[in-house]
Symmetry: C2
Subunit: 119 residues, 2 copies
DNA sequence: AATAGCACTATACTTTTGTATAGTGGAAAA
DNA sequence: TTTTCCACTATACAAAAGTATAGTGCTATT
C-alpha cells in the first residue's frame, strides 16, 4: 500500500497526509530523539542507563526528550512501586513501529550517499 | 530488504546506519523543507511560483531552504540562458526517491493517530 | 553519621532557527 | 519613462532549541 502513488493522490487528500507527515517528523526531529529511541530499541531502560548510553546528553535534555516522547505516545514510563521506586522507560507499540520508517530513512540515506560519491 | 531486521543488526553496524539516518532527517527537518519538496513533487517551478504555493514563506527563508536542498542533492537549480534568464528548481532523482520515505512516514502518522484516538 | 546513587529540577546562558521589513539590479511592459 | 516582474540579498530582531552548572529529596550503603 502506498499513500502517494501518483500526483493525483497528493491533490486529493493533501491535508490529512500533510498532518500525518508532520506528526511523524515532529516525533523524530531534534538532536536527541532518534538516539533515545535507538537506545530503547534494545529494551526498557532506567533514566541513568539511557544517560550513560548517550554519554553527552545532559539530564535536563534527557528529561525533556522523554517527556515529549511520552506525550507523543512513543515511550511509556513505568513505575515499579518497590523500595526504592524503580522507574523505567520503554517504547510503546507505536514506538516499535517506527522501525519501518527508520529503515526506509536508512535506505534512502545510504543510496543517496552512494549517488553523491559517484559524481 | 530491511536494515534493522533485528537487534543484532543494530549492534553490528550502528555508525553507518546512524549517519544515513541523520542525513535523511537533516534533509527533512525544519519548518519549510517538507513543504518545498511537496510543491516540487508536482514538477519544476520558478522561485515566485514556489513562493506563491507556500503563501506564508518569506523570500529569505525560501532562498535559504532551496540552497540547503541543493547542497544536500535533493533539488537542482536550472538556469535557462534566455532573455531574461529563467531560473527553475526541480527535484533530483534522490529528491523523488524521498517519496518512499515520506510514504512510510505518512503511514506511521495515520496509524499512530488512530491508536491514540482509540484509547 | 557521612557518602553515594537515582531521578530528576532550576537557573542562566548560547546557539540555531525563523520572522519582519526593506532594498537591489536587471529586463520588460505600459 | 515610470512601473512592474523576477530572483533574490541585507539587516535587525524574536523565538525555539540546546548547553552548562548546580542543586533537590529520597533511599541505601559504608
Amino acid at each position: 500500500m502506498s499513500y502517494i502513488s501518483n500526483i493525483e493522490d497528493i491533490k486529493k487528500c493533501p491535508t490529512e497526509f500533510a498532518l500525518a507527515l508532520r506528526d511523524t517528523l515532529n516525533v523524530l526531529s531534534g538532536k536527541w530523539k532518534l538516539n533515545v529511541i535507538g537506545v530503547l530499541f534494545f529494551g526498557k531502560k532506567r533514566f541513568t542507563e539511557i544517560e550513560k548510553g548517550l554519554e553527552e546528553i545532559t539530564p535536563r535534555m534527557l528529561s525533556k526528550e522523554l517527556k515529549e516522547l511520552e506525550l507523543n505516545g512513543v515511550v511509556n514510563r513505568i513505575v515499579t512501586a518497590s523500595r526504592p521506586v524503580v522507574i523505567e522507560y520503554e517504547l510503546t507499540e507505536s514506538g516499535y513501529e517506527l522501525k519501518k520508517v527508520l529503515d526506509e530513512m536508512i535506505g534512502w540515506g545510504i543510496l543517496h550517499r552512494e549517488k553523491i560519491f559517484k559524481k
